[in-house]
């Protein structure tokens, strides 16, 4: 069953349409990759799913219509969005960033338990607790953004280009952590990525976007295994 679904989703900034009727299904517990070149609509798709842009069409979460809800309401339903630029609260400490992640969780004990669990994934967080998040390296900020999103106890987490500007070895580590939280904690993941090879290796299903439309979609193994598709749509 689809946990998150878009049907004929259109999105516009000002006068121009950016998405032209996207259909998307994210199965419960799966990892879905959104691929495509710069400007193909990956970021806008994530924003359209979370109320960050004006849309028409349907967005269903747990079979409930959520299109038109503002981002804060979408977040409260259990959809965590790590936006473009990671949304780091730069002048806040690492601890304050994490605490803001748990903003919607009223039960302090649950947040504390959650924090203890996250420290297992990101042990370095402990030593950097009192540092301003803006002083972390790009990779650390990306990990902090993921950790902060996980503090929300989300059912699905949407990531916008987590590999952007990071060294390959850091990207590898981040993707390993994503795989772990998907498998062990059952968090559904939607990941928009330019690094198609890495994303296909991680995801169960992939959608390739071209100028605001789904050009092709299917199991990521099929896409990765078909050289012709790969060359014409993903350029590698």
């Amino acid at each position: 069953m689809a946990l998150l679904e878009a049907r004929k989703l259109y999105a516009r900034y000002g006068e121009s349409d950016v998405l032209h009727g996207i259909d998307l299904e994210v199965a419960q517990g799966s990892i879905v990759a959104l691929l495509g070149a710069n400007g193909s609509g990956k970021t806008t798709t994530l924003r359209a799913l979370t109320g960050g842009v004006r849309t028409s069409g349907n967005v269903l979460f747990d079979d409930r219509e959520i299109a038109g809800l503002p981002p804060e309401a979408v977040a409260r339903l259990g959809i965590a969005h790590v936006p473009e630029g990671r949304g780091t609260l730069g002048s806040f400490t690492v601890r304050e960033n994490l605490s803001m992640g748990a903003y919607t969780i009223k039960d302090g004990k649950r947040s504390k338990a959650r924090y203890e669990k996250l420290v297992g994934y990101f042990p370095w967080l402990v030593d950097r607790r009192e540092q301003p998040a803006g002083l972390l390296s790009g990779g650390e900020q990306q990990m902090l953004a993921i950790a902060r999103a996980l503090m929300m106890e989300p059912r699905v987490i949407l990531l916008d280009e987590p590999s952007l500007g990071l060294a390959p070895i850091i990207v590898k580590r981040i993707f390993e952590i994503l795989r772990t939280i998907n498998r062990e904690d059952g968090v559904t993941i939607v990941i928009a990525e330019q690094d198609a090879a890495a994303a296909l290796a991680l995801a169960d299903t992939a959608y390739v976007l071209e100028v605001g439309r789904v050009a092709i979609s299917g199991p990521s193994a099929d896409l990765a295994g078909n050289e012709q598709l790969r060359k014409s749509y993903l350029g590698y």
Partner: protein
């Protein structure tokens, strides 16, 4: 020595009024990027409410907290109903709205209570407090104590509570806060409420000194604005330090530099502020924003 101590204490008393009002201005500025020029008139209006309650025979220890609560709730409602439609408009639009509110509150107070200057009951004893051979006005000490307590409480609220953290996040990083589930609009309204509450408190403290009339807060707002800019317009700590420094500085200039006296003390103080700002454009505690060209 005694006289100097007395001058400093009395400067700290007026300074803590400026500091409270400056903090109110900073609270709004940080989240909206504009100075709420109506802040002073809102405080004045609240002070009239307290006076009205006292006239009805309500004891001050009920009338004052009640007034502050009304100021808080009223400002939250004001933000939601009047300010919200222009939240995303250009800063000048918001400034015009604030000026409109200034005129409205001023006119309303005159219409309801008239322009007669009225005495206002002081919550503090009138007998001076002797420490050693120096005598301090209980009123001054009371104002300092109440202001510092309220400023301390506010700083604890912003530093230690989750809601305070969310209000700071909403002001500095609205988009990032929204994806974390923060209702940014309501945080803004809460900010208006808190600013109005702090403003009302300073109105209540200063009214026995400057006496109650519809224009009583206008001069104070100018000082508060200067204090906020001196401290760094986006820094709550700066607002408090700036307010206290301005209060003490003005008092000392007036008392010890006879050439300047009370007539030119304000001009001199502003001159000093401008010189400081030439060297520290972001104010004493303000964040320097880099602008790349």
């Amino acid at each position: 020595m005694n006289e100097l101590a007395q001058q400093i204490v009395s400067g700290l008393a007026t300074g803590s009024i400026y500091a409270s009002m400056a903090l109110a201005l900073v609270l709004i500025y940080r989240s909206m990027g504009v100075i709420n020029f109506a802040q002073g008139e809102m405080a004045m209006f609240s002070t009239y409410l307290a006076w009205q309650f006292a006239q009805q025979g309500m004891p001050l220890w009920i009338a004052f907290p009640l007034t502050i609560a009304i100021a808080f709730a009223g400002a939250v409602a004001l933000e939601r109903v009047v300010v919200r439609p222009v939240e995303r408009a250009a800063p000048l639009t918001v400034v015009i709205l604030c000026l409109g509110l200034l005129i409205t509150f001023n006119g309303l107070a005159g219409w309801i209570w008239g322009y007669t200057v009225r005495t206002f009951p002081s919550p503090f004893p009138t007998t001076p407090l002797h420490i050693g051979s120096a005598a301090f006005s209980s009123q001054d000490l009371g104002i300092i104590a109440v202001s510092l307590l309220s400023l301390g409480a506010i700083s604890l609220f912003f530093g230690k509570t989750k809601l305070g953290l969310a209000m700071r996040a909403a002001a500095l990083y609205p988009e990032s806060s929204r994806v974390l589930g923060v209702r940014v609009g309501w945080m803004l309204a809460l900010g208006w409420g808190m600013a109005a509450a702090v403003g009302a408190l300073s109105g209540l403290m200063v009214a026995p000194v400057v006496l109650l009339e519809p224009n009583m807060m206008q001069g104070i707002l100018v000082y508060a604005f200067a204090a906020a800019v001196l401290g760094g317009i986006d820094s709550p700590v700066g607002a408090v330090v700036g307010g206290l420094a301005l209060g003490v500085g003005l008092n000392l200039i007036g008392a010890y530099v006879p050439v300047i006296g009370t007539d030119l003390q304000l001009t001199t103080a502003f001159g000093i502020i401008i010189v400081i700002l030439l060297f520290r454009p972001a104010g004493l505690f303000g964040r320097r924003t880099m602008r790349r060209v």
